[in-house]
């Protein structure tokens, strides 16, 4: 079955939901990629997203892996274009318009209004992910630990995610 058209549709749609960050699209991504199209399981989605946090560059590159699983190299390319194309075009058009809108009083209103909504969407995405990622004391402790360290110290988050891997091995390896 050719999955390319479905991949393009799903990821072009998801890209428009990433207001504030990739996590904002996570609840919808779970529904579409896991429940509707069954390209991967929920734990796999969580794992790919989390591993993607250690990769350099834009932090949603895990979508490439979903595209590859569902449609090989063409699937990966289709997903990339679908996910980054529409928002890139929008940013490009806005870049041209923005200067002209400088005096438009609603510009500030839109920015101030979208700020709390985008934060809420990130938080909602985070809760969706936590339902699959946090179970029991060890995982809760790792999440809270990372949060507190990041709030307190200037440390590279990728290192903490890596430390999470080590703690995961220590906590969950069968003896």
């Amino acid at each position: 079955m050719n999955q390319i058209p479905a991949l393009v549709r799903v990821f072009a749609y998801l890209s428009l939901l990433t207001v504030g960050g990739g996590m904002a699209a996570f609840p919808e991504m779970k529904i579409l990629t896991v429940e509707v199209h069954k390209w991967l399981t929920f734990p796999q989605l969580i794992h790919l997203y989390s591993v993607g946090q250690m990769a350099p560059g834009p932090n949603m590159m895990m979508i490439v892996a979903i595209g590859q699983w569902a449609g090989g190299i063409l699937g990966a390319l289709a997903v990339l274009v679908a996910f980054f194309g529409p928002t890139a075009l929008l940013a490009f058009l806005v870049a041209r318009l923005w200067k002209k809108l400088e005096r438009w009083p609603w510009r500030t209103s839109i920015q101030q209004g979208l700020a709390p909504v985008s934060i809420g969407l990130l938080l909602a995405g985070c809760f969706t992910m936590a339902k699959g990622a946090i179970f029991g004391l060890e995982t809760a402790a790792i999440a809270v630990g990372v949060l507190l360290i990041l709030l307190q110290y200037k440390i590279n988050p990728a290192l903490l995610v890596l430390a999470g891997a080590v703690l995961g091995v220590l906590s969950f390896m069968p003896q």
């Binding site: 590159m61 892996a65 980054f84 806005v94 979208l114 709390p116 809420g120 999440a143």
Partner: protein, 202 residues
């Protein structure tokens, strides 16, 4: 260092960007380097490269572009690439920048995806991934806290955050419906108040 050697250049740096234009190749290469080295979040690397090293944008422009990137759909990293690329070299500049910043991570995650598919159920790897996923949850929460400190305009905004979370997680509303519904409410709440009379008077 070269800035110190040339006082005229140093003065220009503080006033604004010295180089308003860059070749497509330069743009691609610079963003490729950012894309390959920006572990743990792109924004500090963008600033270090575009503002401090290249002087392609000044600090004020950078902050403004970042706030545009944040209010638009799309990732900060790619939106910033498009905005800076556009400023330096128009549409081709945008294309070069977004290709550059995406390429290394995309190739890496392509390989990781194949590897994970084959070895993902190895006990070592599942154990490690449980820890990685938990750490990622903590990381996202810290992003939420950081953004709240930086970009909220008042206490009332916490109500809009709560409404958004309840709509998505409890009432199972779709993200676009929530975005439009709560978004409109929040924009109306932050509507321009005193300037409105001016526009009526015009």
């Amino acid at each position: 260092m070269s800035d110190v050697a040339n006082p005229a250049l140093g003065a220009a740096v503080s006033a604004g960007p010295v180089v308003a234009q860059a070749s497509i190749g330069q743009i691609f290469l610079e963003f490729l380097i950012i894309g390959a080295t920006s572990f743990g979040g792109v924004v500090p690397y963008l600033r270090g490269s575009l503002v401090t090293k290249r002087h392609w944008v000044n600090d004020k422009e950078f902050v403004e572009m970042l706030s545009i990137s944040q209010s638009l759909p799309g990732l900060n990293a790619t939106n910033m690439a498009v905005l800076v690329g556009e400023k330096l070299h128009g549409a081709l500049g945008s294309l070069a920048a977004i290709f550059g910043i995406c390429l290394p991570g995309a190739v890496l995650m392509y390989i990781v995806g194949i590897f994970y598919r084959i070895h993902g159920d190895h006990i070592w790897i599942t154990a490690a991934l449980k820890g990685v996923a938990a750490a990622a949850v903590g990381l996202i929460l810290s992003t939420v806290v950081g953004l709240s400190k930086k970009s909220l305009a008042g206490k009332f905004d916490f109500i809009f955050i709560a409404l958004t979370v309840i709509a998505v997680n409890r009432l199972h509303q779709s993200v676009p419906r929530t975005l439009i519904g709560v978004g409109l409410l929040a924009i109306l709440f932050h509507r321009p108040r005193n300037k409105r009379k001016e526009s009526v008077a015009q």
